[in-house]
């Protein structure tokens, strides 16, 4: 039982402050396994991610097992202070030649842990979480005289709610030393970490929790009158992934902020408004004077600010309510995808026992192949939606055993009628055609994973920013993962395909929208006679021409103004200008 309490304590997170992480890298590598290099490169990659996302996450980097005379503490070197990462620190870290560092004569861990604890303590910012990520191979224990102090430090860390995580760096499986096994047991009582060696995997582990574990809503899931469970709703996808845009003043290079000023001005109908006078008449606008309007049935229908708030959601507090169940076959992505789905996870903090109940429902839904249909109002101001709760495991490859996809279902207002577009005159397909196409399809089969495509525009933007920031001339190249590899299509016999399916090309009578108006234009402008034009200019009767005629006259006169978008009177004025 006590083990669980600890886990729960680890779960504690706060909405205040930002996370703090210290990456602790072991450089003591007497057997030359080269894991410090891997740790270094992966840390640099992780920091790059932090820089790109301009995070306010506090990250520090500390090396231990090092013999550095400049360092205050023996065998420990602080490379980056615990702060939001900046470029200088990153450059400093990147330029460290890990191979050239002088290794300590023996390995001590207790000092390094003590130092990390001190870094957290002396951090002036509010930290929402404190994590030490230790990167090392776990076969060389510290000096035997250091073992007891290390365990003392671990207890201290536990007491200060600092989480210690170990990343096991190795290119092959090996026996983890008993010391680390004991240490891991002390830290989390969970299974031993698997060894990792690929840079991406190590980086992923370092970044494991870099996004804040914030629920979009914490709700009560009302199953029946007396049965409710506590749940939290999360978004597993970020909607905004662009780097933050900031505006700078051209003159001073200072950051430019803006605000929108809403004021009341007098409108005088039928008089040309003098801009300066309008400025004078600006008055503050009171909320009680504000009306929200819609035009329907030829009338303007107005609501006061308060009414406007109520009509947008009169349905009461945020909640999730079960309406019933439906077979999962009713839920087709290809028919009903409306928008990003969310993820539902039990929340023991509002109702104890929620995890067990949700687990039972999860299993029951899977076994009966059903989904729950619920009405959700995620926040007091959000609109009620009907959603399907579909049981899922490991969404997006994340390490989650149970949970539900919260799938928003479209209302009738969301669905457009496309039935007229289905054509029933399409001929049946022959087996030869099918065989040909199946052959093509099977040739280009691949295994999709959600993280396989990188946004190429964003990646190139990152790289250009980085080159500018780090004052590099070369932009780091990248592979555009969105483009298919052409060689996999080599097998396809294009000629045979077109023989079977082609030729393509619109065969029905196409309404040629381009030529028709051109013809009418010709007809209308054909009778523009220069003599008539001169006469009309003289008599001030140019407005007798049609708009296309006026445009043609102006084109003929080689008018320099842009003609599109002008109304007739403007065009008439221009004709007078060019013809007199």
């Amino acid at each position: 039982m006590d083990s669980d309490i600890e886990v729960e304590e680890c779960e504690e997170f706060s909405y205040r402050g930002n996370a703090g992480t210290i990456i602790l890298i072991n450089v003591y590598d007497p057997l030359s396994c080269k894991f410090p290099q891997i740790a270094h490169v992966a840390t640099c990659q992780a920091l790059k991610h932090y820089l790109r996302t301009s995070t306010s996450h506090n990250v520090g980097v500390v090396l231990y097992g090092i013999d550095d005379p400049t360092s205050n503490i023996k065998n420990v070197l602080e490379v980056m202070p615990l702060a939001p990462p900046n470029m200088d620190d990153y450059k400093k870290l990147k330029n460290i030649n890990i191979l050239a560092l002088k290794q300590a004569k023996e390995l001590r861990l207790s000092d390094a842990l003590w130092y990390c604890n001190k870094m957290f303590n002396s951090c002036t910012k509010t930290l929402s979480s404190q994590t030490i990520i230790l990167l090392s191979r776990l076969d060389t224990p510290p000096l035997s005289e250091d073992e007891t102090p290390t365990f003392d430090r671990i207890v201290e860390l536990n007491n200060s709610e600092i989480i210690l995580k170990l990343i096991n760096l190795s290119d092959s499986e090996y026996e983890i030393h008993q010391f680390y096994k004991d240490l891991l047991f002390e830290v989390n009582k969970n299974s031993l970490p698997k060894s990792v060696w690929k840079i991406e995997d190590v980086t992923k582990l370092i970044l494991n929790e870099c996004d804040r574990h914030l629920a979009t809503a914490q709700l009560i899931f009302e199953i029946g009158n007396n049965v409710s469970i506590g749940i939290s709703i999360y978004k597993l996808l970020k909607s905004n992934i662009e780097p933050k845009k900031v505006y700078l003043s051209n003159e001073t290079n200072a950051v430019v902020t803006s605000d929108t000023k809403t004021t009341k001005v007098l409108v005088k109908p039928d008089t040309d408004m003098d801009i300066d006078r309008v400025e004078e008449q600006e008055m503050p606008l009171l909320k009680s004077e504000l009306l929200h309007c819609q035009e329907y049935g030829n009338e303007i229908i107005a609501f006061t600010d308060n009414e406007f708030k109520t009509i947008n959601n009169p349905f009461g507090p945020a909640k999730l309510k079960l309406l019933g169940f439906k077979p999962e076959t009713f839920l087709c992505k290809e028919k009903w995808f409306l928008k990003n789905c969310s993820f539902l996870f039990p929340n023991e903090k509002s109702i104890e026992g929620s995890t067990t109940a949700l687990k039972a429902m999860h299993q029951a839904c899977i076994e009966t192949k059903t989904v729950a249909i619920c009405v959700i109002c995620s926040r007091i101001n959000s609109k009620p939606n009907i959603v399907a709760l579909s049981p899922c495991t490991r969404p997006l490859g994340l390490d989650i055993d149970i949970g539900f996809d919260v799938i928003p279902l479209p209302f009738s207002e969301n669905v457009r009628d496309l039935s007229s577009l289905f054509s029933d005159e399409i001929a049946d397909t022959s087996d030869t055609q099918k065989d040909m196409l199946k052959n093509i399809i099977n040739n280009v089969k691949f295994n999709y994973t959600p993280s396989m495509f990188e946004n190429p525009k964003l990646q190139s933007l990152y790289r250009v920013i980085e080159a500018k920031a780090l004052k590099q001339d070369d932009i780091e190249p990248f592979v555009d993962t969105t483009k298919p590899l052409n060689k996999i299509f080599n097998e396809i016999d294009g000629e045979q395909f077109y023989e079977l399916f082609g030729p393509f090309g619109v065969t029905a009578v196409k309404r040629n929208s381009e030529t028709k108006p051109a013809n009418t234009k010709l007809q209308k402008t054909a009778d523009v006679n220069i003599d008539v034009l001169d006469q009309r200019v003289k008599d001030r009767k140019v407005n007798m021409y049609t708009v296309p005629q006026l445009k043609d006259i102006l084109k003929h006169k080689k008018a320099t103004e842009a003609l599109t978008g002008l109304n007739k009177s403007n065009l008439v004025d221009l004709v007078y200008k060019y013809c007199s």
Binding site: M87, K204, A217, G224, V227, L237, N240, P243, K245, V246, S249, A254, V256, T257, D259, T260, V265, V267, P284, K287, L291, I300, I311, P314, G324, F325, F330, E334, F337, L338, F345, K349, S350, E352, T356, A357, A360, A364, I376, D399, L409, E413, N414, V415, R416, D417, F422, A427, K434, L437, V444, K445, P450, N455, P456, S460, K468, G494, F504, T507
Partner: protein, 704 residues
């Protein structure tokens, strides 16, 4: 060619003596029901914003005679009044419908002829494609026309493609057929391919508002498989998430009429200023930059456009993958589109059909890179074969997420022993699932036994907003009603399901120990300052002990202990003076001073605020001397929190004692020209700062 009007509808409402009575006592009269129905039809037409649809209203049995046929043949076509000519429907049409029946009687066949004439000769300048008449009468006034004449009229209607619909009496209820005219009406309905509905079913059809019909615009491109294969396709949006009601405009209320003012308008202006010195910056003298770590990297427009060339518009197949690989969670963006072979290209249509069939047989889906407009950022899409039971087959296109979209998050483990569940618990849920089967929510008397059918259920929010718009236009002065019961049922478990679920729910209640945890009080700083929590703070004790302690301090305490080290609430002004004498500056002491004043303001309010006022006055004067911004900034914050807490008492105290912001006239260093901004502060529309929000937080506030 005249502009086209898709549909023209004339409602013939019987207003005669014959519809004045109710069939049964205490029920609505036929006229009341007919009027309600007519009003609802017009309302639906208005709210669906069908711009190219015309509506006209003809009263049958009106006391007036006003129609063009009667003008040509005086004495004929009496008691037929053209109330509203065919036009885009307006609220005025509904308001003009007479409240009660007249004392006259009219011939319904006359009304039909007047309507047909109005279609033919009454509208100019437009061409109506579909013409429709809705007749609301109980046929209790029999027509005077004989059989031949009627046949002639009917032939005319058929020739002109006029559709006649009858709402009100049940024309097909054999037991209740009252007269010969029912048969005639049935003949008209059948021959003109119209429908006849009793009130009940007609009103249930009009129960919810329809969305404005949107014609999807095709996105035409080629679907390429490899460099050689290109199939011309068209894609159309099938599902979207556009609000049913368009953009709201903001207007100023006229204080006299309470309607939008014609003399005043709202002006919105975006002002740019330097974040450091608050000087204004012109919008064109700004450069864009990106934040990288804690630094800002300037970026020019040229650099932006040269970033990445996505290439020509198109849909390029990346490959095909197993259907199971595409999970709900990796789908993103809003809505989906249907892909067909290009319209008019039979071969392309056949190829797409063949592709869909192959994918269905292999249980695969396509993944494709789409460039929507040449050189726009490419996006990845899943192309899922889709069988539409009624219509045929096509491909569905849904956007897939990029790697960068995926959050790095860790969830606590759930596979612990204490979270394990028993078979009995799982079975209880299985029982609940069976009991709450929504596919069997209604008994056989309903058309469909499924509750909440996907894509057919209406949105409660959209329906309520449209209800409110209709209500407001017809009842301008009345307060808005709460949502109708029909809307509220969308939140309720269907009664039959609810009944069935009781047993299973009881079982679950017994099997699962679910304990609600009372939320712990938040350790919020602001709450600590609020009066309730302050009562237990040491400040209270101090105040109580005040009379006894003062002499002690002044008489016996040694020098060290009387030395002031911080500003308390007991005597803030003296504390402040003492500390300044020790060499502390205003900026050093400002926080302590303001905290002390705040405590005094909140705590002492019920009896005496003199001390707080004095301390504030003193502090204000000190700030005038050196730095008004300290006072002004603090006061602003204080006022915001007071407003937030609706603490008007303290606000009044501040206003009464002239403790508002330090103006420029008092200190040249002040940035406040006048108090205008203060006067309206409680009520004015706040300036909206485009705060640079952390994308994570931003995502948090995304609409669910």
């Amino acid at each position: 060619m005249p502009p086209k009007i898709d549909q023209g509808l004339i409602i013939i409402l019987d207003n005669g003596r014959n519809v004045a009575n109710a069939d049964e006592k205490d029920k609505k009269s036929f006229y009341e029901m007919a009027r309600e129905c007519a009003a609802r039809i017009i309302e639906t037409k208005i709210l669906s914003q069908a711009k190219n649809s015309y509506v006209g209203v003809i009263l049958l049995g009106s006391k007036n005679t006003k129609n063009s046929v009667a003008e040509q043949a005086p004495g004929e076509f009496k008691h037929i009044e053209l109330l509203s000519a065919l036009q885009t429907p307006t609220w005025q049409m509904i308001r003009e419908l007479p409240e009660s029946p007249s004392k006259s009687k009219g011939d319904w066949m006359d009304a039909l002829i007047v309507a047909a004439d109005h279609f033919k000769n009454g509208v100019y300048g437009v061409k109506i494609i579909k013409t429709k008449i809705i007749l609301l009468t109980n046929f209790c006034t029999l027509t005077k026309y004989d059989h031949d004449e009627i046949q002639q009229v009917l032939n005319g209607f058929k020739a002109d493609n006029l559709e006649v619909n009858v709402i009100g009496p049940n024309l097909y209820d054999e037991g209740h057929i009252k007269n010969n005219d029912f048969e005639l009406a049935r003949l008209f309905v059948e021959e003109t391919k119209g429908v006849a509905e009793p009130f009940g079913s007609a009103m249930s059809f009009l129960l919810f508002h329809q969305r404005k019909s949107v014609n999807s615009v095709a996105w035409n491109s080629d679907l390429s498989i490899g460099p050689d294969l290109k199939i011309p396709i068209s894609s159309y949006i099938k599902i979207d998430d556009k609000p049913v009601v368009g953009k709201w405009t903001k207007k100023v209320k006229d204080p006299v009429t309470s309607k939008p003012s014609k003399e005043e308008a709202i002006k919105k202006e975006r002002i740019f200023y330097n974040a450091e010195n608050h000087s204004k910056v012109k919008s064109d003298s700004r450069t864009k930059g990106y934040q990288y770590g804690q630094q800002i990297i300037p970026f020019t427009q040229n650099e932006e456009t040269e970033l990445y060339a996505s290439g020509e518009k198109g849909l390029t197949v990346y490959g095909f993958t197993h259907k199971e690989n595409i999970q709900w969670q990796c789908l993103t963006d809003v809505g989906l589109s249907y892909i067909f072979g290009r319209k008019g290209d039979v071969n392309a249509q056949q190829t797409v059909k063949c592709l869909v069939e192959c994918l269905l047989e292999l249980n695969l889906v396509g993944v494709a890179r789409r460039v929507c407009i040449s050189n726009y950022a490419p996006k990845m899409y899943a192309l899922i074969p889709n069988v539409d039971n009624e219509n045929g087959i096509c491909l569905s296109m849904i956007q897939l997420c990029y790697k960068e979209n995926i959050k790095h998050m860790v969830f606590p483990p759930t596979n612990l022993k204490k979270y394990s569940c028993t078979d009995a618990q799982v079975n209880a849920f299985k029982e609940l699932i069976e009991a709450m089967d929504l596919t069997k929510a209604y008994d056989d008397t309903y058309d469909d036994t499924e509750a909440f059918p996907i894509g057919e259920t209406v949105s409660p929010t959209a329906q309520y907003i449209l209800d409110c718009i209709a209500f407001r236009s017809l009842n301008p002065a009345a307060p808005l009603p709460p949502p109708r019961d029909e809307i509220m049922t969308l939140f309720k478990v269907p009664p039959l399901v609810e009944m069935r679920s009781r047993g299973a729910l009881e079982k679950i209640e017994k099997l699962f120990p679910l304990n609600k945890i009372e939320p712990r009080p938040k350790k919020n700083k602001q709450q600590q300052e609020s009066p309730q929590t302050l009562t237990v703070l040491p400040v209270t004790k101090k105040a109580e002990n005040e009379p006894f302690e003062i002499p002690k301090i002044s008489l016996f305490m040694d020098k060290n202990s009387t030395e002031t080290t911080s500003i308390g609430t007991m005597n803030p002004i003296d504390d402040y003076k003492a500390l300044t004498n020790k060499g502390k500056s205003l900026s050093d002491l400002a926080t302590e001073m303001t905290e002390s004043i705040q405590s005094l303001l909140y705590y002492n309010l019920h009896d005496d605020s003199k001390k707080a006022v004095n301390a504030m006055k003193f502090f204000r004067n000190e700030c005038i001397k050196s730095d008004p911004s300290i006072y002004n900034n603090w006061l602003q914050k204080l006022k915001i929190s007071l407003n937030h807490e609706k603490n008007t008492k303290v606000l009044e105290v501040i206003n009464e004692n002239e403790l508002n912001v330090i103006l420029k006239s008092e200190s040249s260093l002040s940035t406040y020209e006048n108090e205008d901004s203060q006067l309206y502060e409680n009520d004015t529309i706040p300036n909206t700062l485009p705060v640079v929000i952390d994308p994570e937080v931003d995502a948090l506030f995304d609409e669910m």
